[in-house]
Symmetry: C2
Amino acid sequence: MASYWEIPGGVCAAKGFKAGGVHCGFKRKNLDLAIIFSEAEASVAGVFTTNIACAAPVKLCKARVASGKAWGVIANSGNANACTMGGDEAALQMAVLAEEATNVGEAGFLVASTGVIGEELDVSKVESHIKELASLASYDCEDAARAIMTTDTYPKVLSCAFKIGGVECHIGGIAKGSGMIHPNMATLLVFVTTDAAVPPAVLQAALSEDVKDSFNMVSVDGDTSTNDSCIVFANGLAGNAPIEANTKEFAVFCEALAFVTQGLSKMLAHDGEGATKLLTVHVSGAQTKSQARTVARSIVSSNLVKAAVFGEDANWGRIMCAAGYSGEDFDVSKTSVSFASEFGKVTVALNGVHSPFSEDEAAKVLSAKQIEILFGLGQGEEQATAWGCDLTYDYVKINGEYRS
Amino acid sequence: MASYWEIPGGVCAAKGFKAGGVHCGFKRKNLDLAIIFSEAEASVAGVFTTNIACAAPVKLCKARVASGKAWGVIANSGNANACTMGGDEAALQMAVLAEEATNVGEAGFLVASTGVIGEELDVSKVESHIKELASLASYDCEDAARAIMTTDTYPKVLSCAFKIGGVECHIGGIAKGSGMIHPNMATLLVFVTTDAAVPPAVLQAALSEDVKDSFNMVSVDGDTSTNDSCIVFANGLAGNAPIEANTKEFAVFCEALAFVTQGLSKMLAHDGEGATKLLTVHVSGAQTKSQARTVARSIVSSNLVKAAVFGEDANWGRIMCAAGYSGEDFDVSKTSVSFASEFGKVTVALNGVHSPFSEDEAAKVLSAKQIEILFGLGQGEEQATAWGCDLTYDYVKINGEYRS
């Protein structure tokens, strides 16, 4: 039985976290500036893009997360503040403006940006709206979740409660996708808050392990962005005894964290640019966890697999092909492939070769909006899950015209 | 000045090579079975897919190329003979049928297949057409070039002549693309013939080095296929003294080989599934050749870059982003990005940041059918070129419906 239960509230589900969003002008319309902050100083942990052309706010965050403590984050959409001349200064200014507006001490804020790369970020837009933003902040995170959206079609919000030593704690997050999404952190902004007391090093250990099975298992288009940031704050206001690594309490915390991050991961894949179907790839029978993850990511990232899912075509050869070029070594003659959905399950390959199946049955399974590919390696006991989406006309349309 | 000159003839430009193509029923209509063979036993070299789920004919070719000698190749389109139960036997049967029909000795033929993965290959189709095919073979390779096509829209043929010790030699090839094309050999079948005398080990050394700057620098969709094969035959009928490695003659031969393979590479990229534009990425200023190649391949493979090229959008941030996640380490502040075409050249980024440019001028440059991205690393003297295409609605359409 799960040790957590879902609750509403998202990034404001945990005690003492406020959030807000305003329109400040980075986008032509819609909310584009978000703030999330704690009423008490919080432990902080983060995981960031591996792209060496990383954006200025990512550099600022990496430096500040190292201190282990922070109060909040200010984030904008519509401009990535990446590959910009005045980027470092602009990111720092955003942090200072947020710190002043919320009366927290120096270096108390982290910064995140998402949007077009290579355009200078005009901080005056933040300056002229920061007081309004701080005053609007409330215990409802809907506006913040909307303000970080780029081509996302809906805000992504999830939260749950769990108990640590009899004390009820809360954890929740908001996230945005939905292009440039690929394992190793995508154009992904994720902010998670908890009122559990978790020392910074323990929080970082939990997060670093967690992303291996959550955000690093999501692929929309194979492009690892310049701005990916996943930041977790833990303010301790729930009043539990601080969680130590490798304890029963740590396991409970990690399970609740995974509920939030894996749930958000699924939403990100489901809302991938132009996507009409959520694609879930389960790899089982791997010799190692790492092998399972690599094969699952290779399959979910294949343009040809994704186009076949869009076309509702049981083209399992492409799945075998994508597993085959994953870089993992395995015995092809032990593998199997099945498709599953709410309309049933159909096995299309066994022992590495075609297994007779009804095309009508396969077509029915693949007509669902949520498709599972079950890839059995047959070499061991480990498994992993990756999430993606189909490749559609609209993906091309959205990305052919993004800047315009 | 180049030491070679273009001539017609393709895979039949070299003395003593015949080719032909027939329709035998793997495809509903159109030619689908090709033969190429030499009138004298030839040295042979090959490079094959790195996909571990490689097709049966690839396994056969790898084993036979190791002997260094062969007479020809039989190839079909419409069925990949990959992930099939009777695959090894079917591939062997195809070779035997070709050997009998052309009266060459045992193990004289190589085999290649391309098409749908996972369907058993019905050898009786080959059997009932092999005599017709052998008798139709001539010194015109057009039918053979057409018979290996899958979703290609035109046959790919190129050849040139060069001199070795005063003796005129010839080299030429045919190739097919056009999906599942990605560095490390794609769904790519390439057959090259030369009448130059080149010992097997020297031929293999030339080819293995050559593909690093030709077929391994082509990407259509990031999918490395189960069937990629590039095979070169050298029958020595030109009468030159056998070419030794690391001589002036070897350099001349490699230059002529590169003319053929790089030319075919460009055609493959140009005819990528659904492509409307040929995309050439030149990376210069790299510290090593390998760094230049890696960055060029990362840019040309990016879905977001490809979609921007389709949309004629000067979105250079995506180029910087793709270079940044290539895995290569470099100083972003030294990089530059330009777009070029028959309509001019526009520099859009300098020193890693935006360089003011006219959007009208950029739009004009990007309206051409052949677009070049010039990415300057500014860290050294090495360079590399990669070829790809735009990502279009039609790519999605073609691959959503491939099996049907």
